[in-house]
């Protein structure tokens, strides 16, 4: 199933909304790990952890090796970058709007002065 960009973003946010999944990503940011290793800090069964990994995998946040027997998990930062880009998009919106507001206020003040002189 092919997802649109906004569906991808929604899937990424949905995957990131869970604290356990964020902790898993944080662990993977320091290196690949096997499922048993990822499960260790949580009071959780292996199937429960596997469920979280499936959500992360569907969102494209992690990749799992198909070959190695212990199937290590690897972080994929691509979707995280999309989230950061989204925030960046808003930063640009405001920076440019506020620039325009600044120009507009200067214009208003200049007009006020002109009218005051008449």
């Amino acid at each position: 199933m092919k997802m649109t960009a906004s569906e991808h973003l929604t899937a990424t946010f949905a995957a990131l909304a869970d604290p356990t999944r964020r902790a898993i990503l944080a662990r993977l940011s320091s290196g690949d790990a096997a499922v048993t290793e990822l499960a260790a800090p949580f009071a959780m069964s292996l199937p429960a952890v596997s469920k979280h990994l499936k959500v992360l995998e569907r969102a494209g946040l992690i990749a799992r090796s198909r070959e190695a027997q212990w199937r290590p998990c690897q972080l994929d930062a691509g979707p995280l970058k999309d989230v950061a880009d989204w925030i960046e998009h808003y930063r640009r919106f405001w920076t440019e709007s506020l620039d325009r507001l600044d120009d507009y206020l200067h214009e208003l003040k200049a007009n006020e002065k002109k009218r005051g002189r008449q």
Binding site: S6, E7, L9, T10, F13, A14, L16, A17, D18, P19, R22, L25, A26, S29, A77, L80, K81, V83, A84, W86, I87, Y90, R91, R92, F93, W94, T95, E96, S97, L98, D99, R100, L101, D102, D103, Y104, L105, H106, L108, K109
Partner: protein, 157 residues
């Protein structure tokens, strides 16, 4: 002076998953700056990034009042941006919650604080973002901190 340092009173009904804070000082009186934010004729003159033209279709500036903007981009496409005012405290605070239609269920909570600084006006824009769905509802607040950390981590790539 309390009036010079306005504080937001309430928070969004959703759990924010991203946050942006920006400040800017304008060489203009606070009353004027507040006015250009709340008068539709003024808003149309500056709202939106470079190259965008904003048409204000509806703007009822009071708590619970609605606003509807249409932003035409340099690509000729119209980007609707609708929402509702939550707080309107002249000339110090404006809070509104908007909906973006590009992304499903995407909500943006915006607080604009206007602080008087010896005849100049310092404004603080704080935005909180949510991508609520059944899957994300109930995500803990403080997520923006996590996002910051992830963003820092991404710089290493």
């Amino acid at each position: 002076m309390a009036a010079s340092n306005p504080q937001p009173a309430k928070g969004p009904a959703f759990s924010p998953q991203g946050e942006l804070v920006l400040t800017r000082t304008f060489d203009a009186r606070r009353e004027l700056v507040f006015k250009v934010w709340t008068d539709p004729q003024h808003v149309a003159q500056w709202w939106g990034p470079t190259g965008f033209t904003t048409t204000v279709q509806e703007m009822d500036v009071r708590p619970g009042g609605k606003w509807r903007y249409s932003m035409r981009g340099p690509d000729g496409k119209d980007y609707p941006f609708n929402g509702e005012y939550v707080e309107v405290v002249a000339p110090e605070r404006l809070v509104f919650v908007g909906t973006i239609h590009e992304v499903h269920d995407h909500k943006v909570w915006t607080e604009i604080l206007f602080a008087d600084n010896e005849g100049k006006t310092k404004i603080t824009v704080r935005q909180l973002y949510s991508f609520e769905s059944d899957a994300t509802r109930g995500a803990p607040i403080g997520w923006s901190m996590q996002l910051d950390r992830l963003a820092k981590y991404l710089v290493a790539f």
